[in-house]
């Protein structure tokens, strides 16, 4: 089973899902830790990202985004929905109550991961005033380390468009960030 088939199968094949989960779990947990400070929220969002990927997998063709960029695009939408919605209401009907799966040791590991992402979380928060598309590109590039090509693929826009958004955002944030946004990588590493 190649990579595309493997991702496309995660919605129907538990073994394919397990392989995908093991490959991307750490990346998803770090992605979430760059955005939230509560270990319970981090646990729930990690579960929601994989659930969203499972349900989106049947449309995965692999020609638009590599698995990591595809998953980051999904993760970004999940976290954005979480922030816009009322978490208390969502919790009432959550599909997997992930926070209920936490024990002390697991919680400590998540807290340590969240602590390690403090700087990235500060950059993430500083992007709040940007227009949505600029913010999306900068998030994936400056906070999550995707290349511009990967970020564009994750967002369904052209690389040129992503580049324009990134540089506009950099100009816009020039006076509000202690450190300027880094030069983006243009190609997939």
């Amino acid at each position: 089973m190649n990579t595309v088939e493997g991702v496309a199968a995660i919605g129907r094949d538990p073994d394919a899902l397990e392989a995908f989960y093991l490959e991307h779990l750490e990346a998803v947990q770090r992605f979430v830790a760059r955005r939230v400070e509560s270990p319970e929220d981090a646990a729930d969002l990690t579960a929601e990202v994989f659930l969203a990927a499972i349900h989106a997998s049947r449309n995965y063709r692999g020609d638009a985004a590599v698995p990591r960029a595809w998953l980051y695009g999904i993760a970004r939408r999940v976290v954005a929905s979480h922030r816009r919605s009322m978490a208390r209401t969502l919790r009432a009907v959550r599909r997997i109550d992930a926070r209920e799966l936490l024990d002390d040791d697991a919680t400590d590991r998540i807290v340590a991961r969240i602590d390690s992402q403090r700087v990235a979380r500060g950059v993430y928060r500083s992007l709040a005033a940007l227009p949505e598309r600029q913010r999306a590109v900068v998030e994936l590039v400056a906070v999550d380390g995707l290349s511009l090509v990967e970020a564009a693929a994750a967002l369904g826009i052209s690389t040129g468009n992503a580049r324009v958004h990134y540089h506009r955002a950099r100009r816009r944030l020039a006076h509000s960030l202690s450190e300027p946004l880094p030069d983006p990588f243009e190609v997939t590493s």
């Binding site: 995660i10 919605g11 129907r12 094949d13 538990p14 899902l17 397990e18 989960y21 093991l22 490959e23 991307h24 779990l25 750490e26 646990a43 990690t46 579960a47 994989f50 659930l51 499972i54 349900h55 989106a56 049947r58 449309n59 063709r61 020609d63 638009a64 939408r77 954005a80 929905s81 816009r84 919605s85 009322m86 208390r88 209401t89 969502l90 919790r91 009432a92 009907v93 599909r95 997997i96 992930a98 799966l101 936490l102 024990d103 040791d105 697991a106 919680t107 590991r109 998540i110 598309r133 967002l155 369904g156 826009i157 468009n161």
Partner: protein, 197 residues
């Protein structure tokens, strides 16, 4: 990932495997991105989610905007005036067939149109502060094609009593949506019970 899983990661993997195992073996041929927006408490928890709609009833039913890149964004806040939304989309060069069914336990009988045989990159539905947000990148709906969208759902009034876990639900929207692009005719929606409900 090389590190061994901890108890949480192992338990989550088990739950996710169970979730995949519970998926229907053969899915019906639905439109491309199909999103379950929510379901009432009586619906299977596997698809349940409630979307809160602040200010419900105080805003226009829909809006259509076109960004600098040519991406068209549709926001639907209330399931009203489907024909008006079709007319508004036509102003942006998009032929559309919009159906609203105020019952999340129903949907349109399949086969009323033939989806185009190509990947519709970037076309997506989001949920959030607005009831429904559809993004149509440039070229998604080509000349002679029709954007088909059907939304099945209803507004849930705020709960007056806390549920079992002590959480009180605010007003929200419960339902699902189906959307795709077709190059052929679109038959009227024949409303039938949702077999997954």
């Amino acid at each position: 990932m090389n590190a061994p899983l901890d108890s949480f990661e192992t338990a989550l993997l088990t739950r996710l495997r169970e979730h995949v195992d519970q998926q229907p073996a053969v899915r019906p041929r639905l439109s491309r991105p199909r999103l379950l927006l929510g379901a009432a408490a009586t619906v299977a928890a596997a698809v349940a989610m409630v979307v809160v709609v602040p200010g419900l009833g105080t805003t226009t039913a829909y809006s259509v905007q076109e960004g600098n890149s040519g991406t068209i964004t549709v926001e639907v806040r209330r399931l009203e005036d489907a024909k008006g939304l079709e007319a508004e989309l036509a102003k942006y060069g998009v032929t559309a067939d919009v159906t609203y069914v105020p019952d999340h336990q129903m949907w349109c009988a399949p086969g009323r149109y033939t989806p185009v045989d190509r990947k519709l990159s970037g076309m997506q539905v989001e949920m959030g502060a607005q009831l429904l947000k559809v993004t149509l990148p440039p070229g998604t709906v080509r000349d002679g094609e029709t954007f088909v969208m059907a939304v099945f759902g209803e507004v849930i009034p705020p709960s007056t009593e806390p549920s079992q876990d002590g959480v009180r639900d605010d007003a929200g929207f419960s339902g699902l949506t189906e959307f795709d692009v077709t190059a052929g005719p679109v038959q009227p929606c024949k409303v039938v019970p949702n077999p997954h409900d």
